[in-house]
Symmetry: C2
């Protein structure tokens, strides 16, 4: 049996997911477990949960010979060495993920990148950006992340951090951002940012007047039901996204912007004001040709993109 599958891994704050992905980008087997992420969980305990998930998946698939291991993981991380310190996984701080996976899979390529970059790569390789040379893939959720494919190749930048569209400035006098700046796209359009703004305007999640754990997805649902403040919050996010995408399109001469993540499921409530702001600000002839589309691969985009770091290394992996 030829070593044709990549073991793809997606490491997030709520779940660990793994899959076997064939050279065409098809997921032939997958599994997931909740991320052991309670206070007090140690780094080794988390690693063992991941190790068990991978062992079970590969054994269940008849232990096929592997072409390599591809991983998407929350940032920040050193890159390409991938000592990872995911913001939402406190148990791992400088955890040597690449080194550990290399020891687990001697002789195989092990390649790790930011989770939002893997989503962008997945959408470029087999999703909404397929066939285009210049694509921004975005994830709009509790944060706003992304990845850039330009001239047909994934852009890494100086430290593997290219694609951070969430920290493009859309309103210099706007709200403070967790990064320490002000008026970043993420400060306005991330789910919790939208919820905070809506609350200030008087929005109360249905049936939960206190509801400190209301999410952007609930806010979007209320907007669909006609709640005026929730609707205004979605318009505010859409406008911010449109302005940031206009800037990115002018700077990078993009053809397609593919938007995924929980908030993107708000549909026209988000995409209509986004399109309006984009048309107002992306005015150069070349920029008016860019299209903004919903991501196509859903939950598997990150796994498919992680696999592409090995399967399509000529386009998506330029590091050692």
């Amino acid at each position: 049996m030829r070593p044709s599958h990549v073991l793809a891994v997606d490491i997030g704050g709520t779940k660990l997911a793994a899959a076997l992905v064939d050279p065409e980008g098809r997921v032939t087997a997958q599994d997931r477990v909740p991320t052991p992420n309670e206070p007090g969980v140690g780094g080794e305990e988390l690693w063992q949960a991941l190790d068990a998930l991978l062992a079970k998946l590969v054994a269940g698939a008849g232990d096929p010979p592997l072409a390599g291991v591809g991983v998407g993981c929350g940032g920040p991380m050193t890159w390409p060495a991938a000592e990872v310190s995911p913001l939402n996984i406190p148990a791992w701080r400088g955890f040597p993920l690449r080194e550990r996976l290399r020891a687990r899979h001697p002789g195989l390529p092990v390649r790790i990148h930011n989770d939002a970059i893997c989503v962008a790569v997945g959408e470029h390789w087999r999703g909404a950006g397929r066939g285009h040379g210049n694509v921004l893939g975005m994830v709009v959720s509790t944060g706003v992340g992304g990845g850039l494919i330009l001239d047909g190749r994934l852009v890494n930048g100086a430290s593997g951090n290219a694609g951070h569209i969430g920290h493009v400035v859309v309103d210099p006098g706007g709200p403070p951002c967790a990064c320490g700046g002000r008026g970043c796209l993420e400060a306005i359009a991330r789910g919790p940012g939208l919820v905070a703004w809506a609350r200030e305007q008087g929005w109360r999640p249905d049936g939960r007047p206190g509801g400190s754990d209301a999410t952007g997805v609930e806010l979007a649902a209320d907007a669909r039901r006609g709640d005026p403040v929730a609707g205004a919050a979605m318009r505010r996010a859409g406008r911010a996204l449109g302005i940031a995408i206009a800037s990115a399109t002018h700077l990078c001469d993009l053809e397609v912007v593919a938007i995924g993540g929980g908030l993107s499921q708000a549909g026209a409530l988000l995409f209509d004001p986004l399109g309006e702001a984009l048309r107002a600000h992306a005015r150069m002839d070349f920029a008016r040709r860019a299209r903004v589309v919903p991501a196509a691969l859903g939950q598997t985009a990150g796994l498919v993109g992680a696999a592409a770091l090995v399967h399509a290394q000529d386009r998506y992996w330029s590091a050692g």
Copy 2:
């Protein structure tokens, strides 16, 4: 004699410049003429002026065998076919510059790119960005343009227009831009935009109370002499530049931003407020490492960059 020199050309609204550039990026001969750009000048007349300039330069250098022809020209243009329609040269609209130069130099590579991109390439190859993989080169003058080198290569984008930092949005409610948008960097920081703003605030160019032809360079000179309105105008431009560079740095994970063009000669009057705004908005760890520096090559950057389209084609030319 080995064909070692590139015939480099820089086509602007006020001058046509040409040079012979060796493989090390040294200019071994150069010449220039004013651009015949009066109303009524035809496209062929302009071509003949260019043809004469090139013939004189090459003959004066002993007619060396050439490795190719590299050209920077004002946009817009089709790319890479280079039918050029420079905004500030009305005589050329869809002029087939690449085709004409190919007919003039049969068998040689002829490569044409946007003039600001050639400046960025020159600064990357032999100037302030040398040795770095991720560089934004900018020209701040009567317009604001640029070029992007990422992961060691020039980025072209979908239509050769990547690098248009001038149309990154820095203030969504800001002044209208010639592109049809609002609050673009160029609308605020281009010389004529600064002059217009300073006039509104009561600035009068020294000794020329009417002075409709005052320039950004004069404004900068007045700022150096302590004129408060001129100083405020430079701060306004610097802040806008800092915000746009913060956005570009987050999106592209840049190491170096090299700023050239007439206005960049204002020195600390521009670079101090720029640095302040950049430090306020570029807060992610990776972005704080980026450096903003003055361009190093001055007037020859565009010629050196045009030559690099041939001399260093592995990095700077990916089209046919």
